[in-house]
């Protein structure tokens, strides 16, 4: 509660006391409230908590990191205002976008005007972060267009004994539709038969009509890549209609919690972030920091935000004091972040590749026999090329 008040109040009074002269200042425009906030607010809260932890250890290069968070409610006009304020008033050395893709254009314009790097964390990676990358745009978000479908369909193929009749499901938002269209074409090249594609509007009062048509096409696998609500409701509606096939979908922030709620042995989630179930040493640290910061979200939601925090910390550590946008961009252009097991390998940016040079995927499912989440496939790497 206190955190939310602090975040909302950030529009008027930045939370934190360090001034631009004695701190690394980064500015975040995020969907902290509004209908899509559940996808973004945990990322910001976790990143802030991690950077507060870093400050508690003495900061970066002996200086604290000050995070100014402004709520854009996923509205482009607010994102534009936020960017202007962060650049002109707070003099940030790095802008972060943790919001819907509709907010990208105004933030990119302001970032270019000021020559300040724009880092997408927990938000969909724009294609400009892939090679050949835009000089000012960077991204650490787990999911990646096209690569996710490549990994998911590779998993489907390696786990199918019979011919694959593939169903596809997405929400009617541009990025999800484009990905599912890509998956449809890709599946044909992999020898699969795409039997039905359902695009549902955001949100639908009842997903059964969409699930009915998908079920009637009789797929033995379904791949869905969308916001969680659309992915899981289509699946649950199909199960209630008596469909018994296998469903693969993207592991969003809440995937671990949801696997335990749904408890279906043939519901697979594919993702690039380790689960708390893995119990890595870094997970103990995440739990401790979350408890100390009294975060409202389950710890399993926080990995993406910690990844962003590690990236910011490493980028600023490689930026000599006093920081300038040019120095920060230079540091981000040659970045290798040790993610300490939160992903399958380090996150590496080059001058040409601001997405990552290699993407690692893992697949999980609920195991009814052992009554817990198990790995259906361990890390598989895909090289990110031009």
């Amino acid at each position: 509660m206190k955190k939310i008040v602090c975040t909302v109040a950030a529009a008027l009074l930045p939370c934190g006391t360090a001034s631009a002269q004695d701190a690394y200042v980064i500015g975040v425009s995020a969907a902290m409230t509004g209908p899509v906030a559940p996808n973004y607010a945990p990322v910001v809260e976790a990143m802030k908590a991690y950077l507060e932890h870093v400050n508690g250890r003495g900061g970066v290069n002996g200086k604290p990191v000050r995070v100014v968070v402004l709520d854009d409610q996923a509205q482009p006009s607010r994102a534009a205002t936020n960017s202007k304020q962060l650049l002109a008033q707070d003099k940030v050395a790095m802008l972060l976008n943790v919001s819907l893709s509709s907010t990208y254009a105004p933030m990119i314009a302001e970032s270019k005007r000021a020559g300040v790097p724009l880092f997408f964390a927990g938000a969909v990676c724009p294609k400009e972060t892939y090679p050949p990358a835009d000089p000012l745009q960077f991204c650490s978000t787990a999911f990646g267009a096209n690569l996710d479908s490549q990994a998911a369909l590779a998993f489907v193929r390696s786990n199918s004994r019979e011919p694959v009749r593939l169903g596809l499901a997405a929400m009617a938002i541009p990025i999800a539709r484009a990905e599912i269209d890509y998956a449809e074409e890709l599946s044909k090249t992999l020898g699969m038969a795409p039997v039905e594609k359902q695009i549902s509007p955001p949100p639908a009062p009842d997903y059964t009509p969409f699930a009915t048509k998908l079920k009637e096409a009789n797929p033995n696998w379904v791949w869905s890549w969308s916001p969680w609500v659309s992915q899981v409701r289509i699946f649950e509606a199909m199960r209630r209609l008596g469909w018994s096939g296998r469903y693969v979908t993207w592991a969003h922030l809440n995937a671990e919690e949801e696997l335990a709620r749904i408890r279906d042995g043939e519901f697979y989630v594919i993702g690039t972030n380790a689960f708390m179930e893995d119990s890595l040493p870094v997970h103990a640290e995440i739990r401790a920091i979350a408890a100390r910061s009294r975060l409202d979200y389950p710890v399993s939601y926080l990995t993406e935000g910690f990844v962003a925090g590690l990236v910011v910390e490493t980028a600023l550590r490689n930026t000599a004091w006093p920081p300038t946008p040019e120095k920060v961009v230079n540091a981000m252009n040659h970045l290798k972040v040790d993610l300490r097991g939160l992903r399958g390998g380090p996150l590496e940016w080059t001058k040409d590749n601001h997405f990552r040079t290699r993407q690692y995927y893992r697949v999980w499912r609920w195991d009814p026999a052992s009554n817990r989440i198990v790995r259906a496939q361990d890390w598989q790497a895909i090289d990110v090329k031009r």
């Binding site: 509004g34 209908p35 899509v36 009062p205 009842d206 009509p209 009915t212 509606a237």
Partner: protein, 289 residues
Amino acid sequence: MQLAVNIVVLASIYALICSGYVLIYRVSRVLSLAHGELMMLGAYGLYATASLFNGHPLLAVPAAGVLALLVGVAVYAALMWRMTGESVLAAVLATIALGILLRGAMILVFGTQTQHPLRDLGWSNASLAVGSARISAVGLALVLATALTYGALFAFLRGTRWGIRMRAAGQNPLLAAQRGIGLHGVYALAWGLATFTGGMAGMLIACDAGLEGTLVIVGLKAFPAALVGGLDSLAGALVGSLVVSAAEVLLIHYVDPLLSDVVPFVVLLAMLAVRPWGLLGTREQLDRV
């Protein structure tokens, strides 16, 4: 058969939501644009009572219903009674402001996480056979709740003293007041009942699909059905919901699922062009907001 079940379930969702729009409009001529938010508040009420009466779902559900009713009365007492006698536009703007306030307040109090009230109640959403089709337990509950709600509302409005007072206040408030009917009491009851039915819709949708911020949009999606049926007619709300949901489900199945978002408004535009007061609405009650 499955398509018919899908149409009935979707129509039930729309009809249950629409009953709130119609009740308030019919009695006080106010178009409540905070209905989606009040619906979501009702769902959060269930989430709260499910936590409060942990392990006692038969206590939690009625408590949530009573809470929704009281919230509606409180909204009238705290805000809408001041709009009595003011222009319709002022009252509509007040409901918009109320909606924005409620949205912010719900985020502050309940956070942004998706909640699952059905799980908190300790129940599961089983799949039931209806002939060759299937329906979820919550879907069936929605159909039954809608049937009971409309049956009870028809009986209440026609057969009880307070129901007749509500109809009288809706038809001619000045005359009703001169005959000794307390308009504030009638309006407060209308707001209470509307929030109760809307809240019930919110609770059932949240039980079926989880509770999150997008529930407000679902509340707005039902609005065309109320207009198609006629904003001052409960029977019209039923018919309008059936028309809109049938068009939606059939287009999803036979044409393109993307049309499901557009079709309620296409039906609405067609209706406004041909019969602006709706299928069963009253012609002279049509007003421009």
